[in-house]
Amino acid sequence: MNSPALGATPLDQTAVRRVTGLTDWWRDDRGEPVRRNLGLVVVLIALLGIGAWTRPDIFLDGDRLGPNLFSILKQASAIGVVTVGMTFVIIGGGIDLSVGGLIALAGVWSTTLATQGFGAGGIVFTALVVGLGAGLVNGVLVAYGRLVPFIATLATFVAARGLAARISGKQTQTVDVAAINDLATARYLGIPLLIWILAAVVLLGWGLLNRTTFGRRTVALGGNAEAARLAGIRIRPHTVLLYGVSGLCCGIAALMLTAQATSAQAAMADMYELDAIAAAIIGGTLLTGGRGTIVGSLLGVLVFSTITNLFAVNNLPTEVQNMVKGGIIVAAVLVQQFPFGRLRRRKPTS
């Protein structure tokens, strides 16, 4: 060849592929998300190990392990859906602080007596539309109002919780539509519907991010907005859609929570924004955008809900829970970094 190789050398392509191909792939950036995710898998297994060690009666007894795992996954379901949406927004270079408020608004709006009058269909429709609509409002504020995402979504957050309180008259609205409440109990192939929903959303999210122009352009937007603009991507509409996705996820989550609590209220989904962001980031999403994986976010959510479950089954007092939790989070991240720490030349402030 008449010129120095700039991507890889012949050596790299042949011999290296064969000999060091795996380790090479492993150590290089393509391996990076997988590495991170493996780290989280390790953490998850470790946590389950702790479970087995502290509560063998549950974690080593088939009849009890199953239900317990299901309950971990069910508790991960709603926040998991929200985190998928959040992941898109963050990868796209934004942030969505409004999710808790949007869930409350969608939940309350879709369970007013009036709405319940329309039956399950009406409730589902309302929840999704309200979620999506509010999400689009976020998007417009950010894309066209030029508001910093943090502020824009903070504003819609307070506004949404307020509106929800207004609508519900600060009452807890119980749901009498059986079809809705059944969402929390229904099972297919022995697996709770809530878990199927989570699985579906994760799968769709993964496809959307990795296999569609929308997903790839989202990465471009968050990674290098100027490059995206010069490539002719219409940044603003795209941004609006991103927040729409997050809003829609909130609508879905609202239904899942409402079904589980057989009720909705203005204060529901407390702290969901923080949990979702934390899960996404622990899952390897870059807070500055341009980088992240759906699988990682899912694992992040699972880590957190497993921790909660461990605390519960071991009857730790709230304050001890918190103290330990802090430690576990740090440990989890360190585990992720450990094996490859040397390779990840990342600036301390990143």
Binding site: D57, M268, A312
Partner: protein, 321 residues
């Protein structure tokens, strides 16, 4: 003592209650309670407003308490400046707002404090509290008695508390534990929810996982109880008894229907707000309570925590929030 030999002379008795209903001089009552994040607090405000409407001469000036003690303190400052005849408040935290109570009293405005106690006497003229410790005791005694009756010697008992950072939650748990101890029982697992239905559902679910075998559960707050009941229903477990707290109408109806594990609830009624308004009115008008001999409203009232069961539920339904 008086030297007269007429017997009833020096005993203070009062035959017919002075009619407190009779209208008195116009009264402005300032009112402040935390933002309602759940049913019970919402009921507090609702009751206060309803009660005030009963008295033509009473005008209620509500000031929103905002999101925390600091905000409520600021709100009350403006209220004090407006010099109402009396102030009724439910503080975010008794200790944190104690100083504001004193301020109002010092400004010559009698303070009626609700639910969350002030540490200093100087901070209030009248204090009406639910009995948090007693609430736990009542729940503990009911649970203990029921399980004893079924011959349980080492029953598995769970507890779903309210917001753990509130002192009243601690008092309730203590009462519960103390009462159980008298039966030689103890709490096997305690989860703290946040007075909201979805948190109740979550913690109940956790509790059910933690305790595969279960005899009784006490849930501090009927509002979050909606979620607790949901979780139990979803788990399909019926093998234990559930006792509620605070006493919502929904809970009482469920108890009445007797088609779930919820068999009782111990009251901690937001009706205390209604009473507070009527007594505040009397205070402002310098009148005593009809059935009391004293000429003035007493300094402290602690509502008894009663146990509502299928047997007596009808009497309480009206108090349910």
């Amino acid at each position: 003592a008086c030297t007269s030999n007429t017997p009833a002379g020096n005993t203070s008795v009062k035959a017919n209650a002075a009619d407190n209903a009779a209208a008195g001089k116009p009264v402005t009552i300032g009112f402040s309670a935390p933002a309602a994040d759940h049913g019970w607090i919402a009921a507090i405000t609702a009751n206060a407003e309803a009660q005030a409407k009963l008295y033509p001469e009473v005008t209620l000036r509500k000031v929103e308490a905002g999101k925390d003690a600091a905000a409520q303190a600021a709100a009350l400052d403006t209220l004090i400046a407006a010099k109402p005849d009396v102030i009724v408040m439910l503080p975010h935290d008794g200790k944190e707002l104690n100083s504001v109570g004193r301020k109002a009293m010092a400004a010559g405005i009698p303070v009626v404090n609700l639910d969350r106690a002030f540490p200093e006497d100087l901070a209030y003229r009248l204090q009406i509290k639910g009995d948090n410790y007693g609430m736990g005791v009542a729940a503990g005694q009911y649970v203990g008695a029921q399980l004893k009756a079924t011959g349980k010697t080492a029953p598995v008992i769970g507890e779903i508390a309210g917001m753990d950072e509130l002192e009243l939650t601690q008092q309730r748990s203590k009462g519960f534990a103390d009462a159980l101890a008298t039966f030689g029982f103890k709490v096997a697992n305690r989860r703290a929810a946040r007075f909201t239905a979805d948190s109740g559902q979550k913690e109940a679910d956790n509790l059910l996982q933690a305790l595969p075998k279960l005899d009784a559960v006490w849930n501090h707050d009927d509002d979050q109880g909606i979620g607790v009941l949901a979780a139990i229903a979803q788990s399909g477990r019926k093998d234990f008894l559930l006792v509620g707290g605070a006493g919502s109408r929904k809970a009482m109806e469920t108890i009445k229907a007797d088609n779930s594990v919820l068999k009782a609830t111990v009251t901690y009624s937001p009706s205390m707000a209604s009473s507070a308004i009527s007594l505040a009115r009397l205070l402002a008008q310098g009148r005593g309570m009809g059935d009391l001999v004293e000429l003035q409203v007493p300094k402290e009232i602690i509502l008894a925590a009663e146990t509502v069961t299928k047997a007596n539920v009808d009497r309480y339904l009206t108090l349910g929030f």
